[in-house]
């Protein structure tokens, strides 16, 4: 049983972590799907309006007989996302600007179609819209690469964000489990350590690791505090005189005296009472004689 780490034995936390990760992945996936849909739809609508605005302007210029300006405007469009522009007027004017597109319009007048071209089947919008006043029509083929790039960027960042979030969750859980793991000093002790450990009530001392716990929680002790506690726990219930304590805990300090013992007992009691308010009663002062560890008797 001891060969399996505590945090693996705690199935509820593993399940909770899995649920959080699955939920996060699901939420990010749904968000990205809806974002992609919104970006595509917005791009689609704007492009249609763009084509209609150009058709209105082109019709106005053609009605004035100014073909050059229409060509200039078509040239401007092709410098951006527009792949090709065709303006056809009943008067016989036919303007083409951009890449040569041999196939017929993908839809009828006033239609919008999503077509795929090229070796990698890129998405294009093929829009045919009537000009406002001249009775002709405009056909515009627009590359959707920019909107697709925005979607790809969002998916990359979104997926990256989800991974970072999940990693954070795992890290937090690991930290929390580690805390629990550290608290279970008794449970974690190996058979050899368990054989050596000293148990006095809720106080547990594991000499092999110079560690102690009280009421199941680890005690943060300095070496001197640990030494004092070890001396008292060596014979629980027995009163140790100050001289005995000094010789055992301060063997190399000829200047240590009763005030040091008093100071360290105070600090130990504070550590114990931090874990449990009655922890200070674990060390009992016997006036005129010394100190003992309360063994419950």
């Amino acid at each position: 049983m001891n060969a399996i780490p505590v945090w693996l034995r705690n199935g509820r936390l593993i399940v909770a972590a899995s649920v959080v990760m699955v939920c996060t992945g699901l939420a990010v996936g749904l968000f990205l799907a809806s974002y992609a849909s919104v970006v595509r739809s917005s791009f689609h609508e704007r492009t249609v309006t763009y084509a209609q605005a150009f058709a209105a302007t082109a019709g106005s210029w053609l009605a004035r007989g100014d073909v050059d300006v229409v060509e200039t405007l078509a040239q401007f469009l092709v410098a951006g996302s527009v792949v090709s522009v065709d303006v056809v007027d009943p008067s016989g004017v036919a303007i083409h600007w951009g890449s040569a597109i041999d196939d017929a319009p993908a839809g009828n007048l006033g239609s919008v179609a999503v077509v795929r071209r090229g070796p990698s089947h890129e998405r294009y919008l093929d829009i045919t819209t009537p000009t406002a006043s001249s009775g002709g029509h405009v056909r515009m083929v627009v590359d959707t690469a920019s909107s697709e790039a925005a979607i790809r960027l969002a998916v990359t960042f979104g997926a990256g964000g989800a991974v970072v979030f999940d990693a954070g969750i795992i890290g937090l859980l690991a930290w929390a489990l580690r805390g629990r793991h550290r608290r279970n000093v008794n449970e974690e002790a190996s058979p050899a350590e368990a054989a050596e450990q000293v148990v006095v009530g809720d106080l547990v001392i594991v000499p092999a690791r110079c560690a102690a716990s009280f009421a199941g929680r680890p005690l943060r002790l300095t070496p001197k505090q640990y030494a004092l506690l070890t001396v008292l726990a060596s014979e629980p219930g027995r009163v140790f005189s100050e001289a005995e304590i000094l010789s055992a805990a301060w063997p190399d300090s000829p200047y240590a005296d009763a005030r040091d013992i008093k100071q360290y007992v105070y600090l130990l009691r504070r550590r114990l009472s931090e874990i449990r308010p009655d922890g200070r009663d674990v060390i009992v002062t016997v006036p005129g004689f010394g100190y003992r560890l309360n063994d419950g008797r």
């Binding site: 791009f43 704007r46 763009y50 150009f54 200039t72 401007f76 469009l77 951006g80 920019s146 909107s147």
Partner: protein
């Protein structure tokens, strides 16, 4: 005495030549004010056309491309010999100042020219802002502002309500354009 006659003859030739040149400039070598106004109106119409399309650009890069063209049209392009619309409007205001008009007409013309300049400057500010925007929504708003200012500079009356502008000048000089 002989030298004095020669000098007078040269002066007369120069005077006659100079007057001839001035007459030519007034008639054929330089466009008339009506023609210049008509050319100005055509470029304004081109600016309006670009702005009306640019405001619906499907991508930010399209919007910026159109904004750059509008900036070149309004402020002038070093590669283009024709000055920008703002410079043209300023030159026209100077021309009005240099000519003798009836005071009332003069005030109207100068007021209209000043309005055109003012709206064109606002359009330049908006289009520069559009060119700097990092989002398509903001660029769209700025390009719509450009369109609005250009329309205001044109000053097409709505039920007789109008801030005098280019259409006022076109009518005043009977420029050969359809408004």
């Amino acid at each position: 005495m002989r030298q004095a006659r020669t000098a007078v003859a040269i002066a007369v030739v120069m005077l006659v030549g100079g007057l001839a040149c001035i007459g030519q400039s007034e008639n054929s070598a330089f466009p008339s004010v009506e023609q210049r106004l008509a050319g100005f109106a055509d470029r304004m119409r081109l600016g309006l056309s670009i702005a009306s399309v640019a405001a619906f650009s499907p991508t930010l890069s399209d919007a910026r491309g159109h904004a750059e063209r509008l900036i070149a049209l309004l402020r002038g392009d070093p590669r283009d010999p024709v000055p920008g619309l703002i410079s043209q409007a300023e030159l026209f205001a100077d021309w009005i100042l240099a000519r003798s008009f009836d005071p009332e007409v003069r005030r109207t013309l100068l007021g209209a020219a000043a309005n055109v300049q003012g709206f064109l400057r606002l359009a330049v500010e908006a289009v520069i802002s559009a060119n700097r925007d990092r989002g398509l929504a903001n660029a769209t708003e700025d390009l719509l502002r450009v369109y609005t200012y250009l329309l205001a500079a044109w000053a097409q009356p709505v039920d007789g309500i109008v801030v005098p502008g280019l259409s006022t000048l076109l009518r005043a000089f009977d420029a050969p354009v359809t408004t």
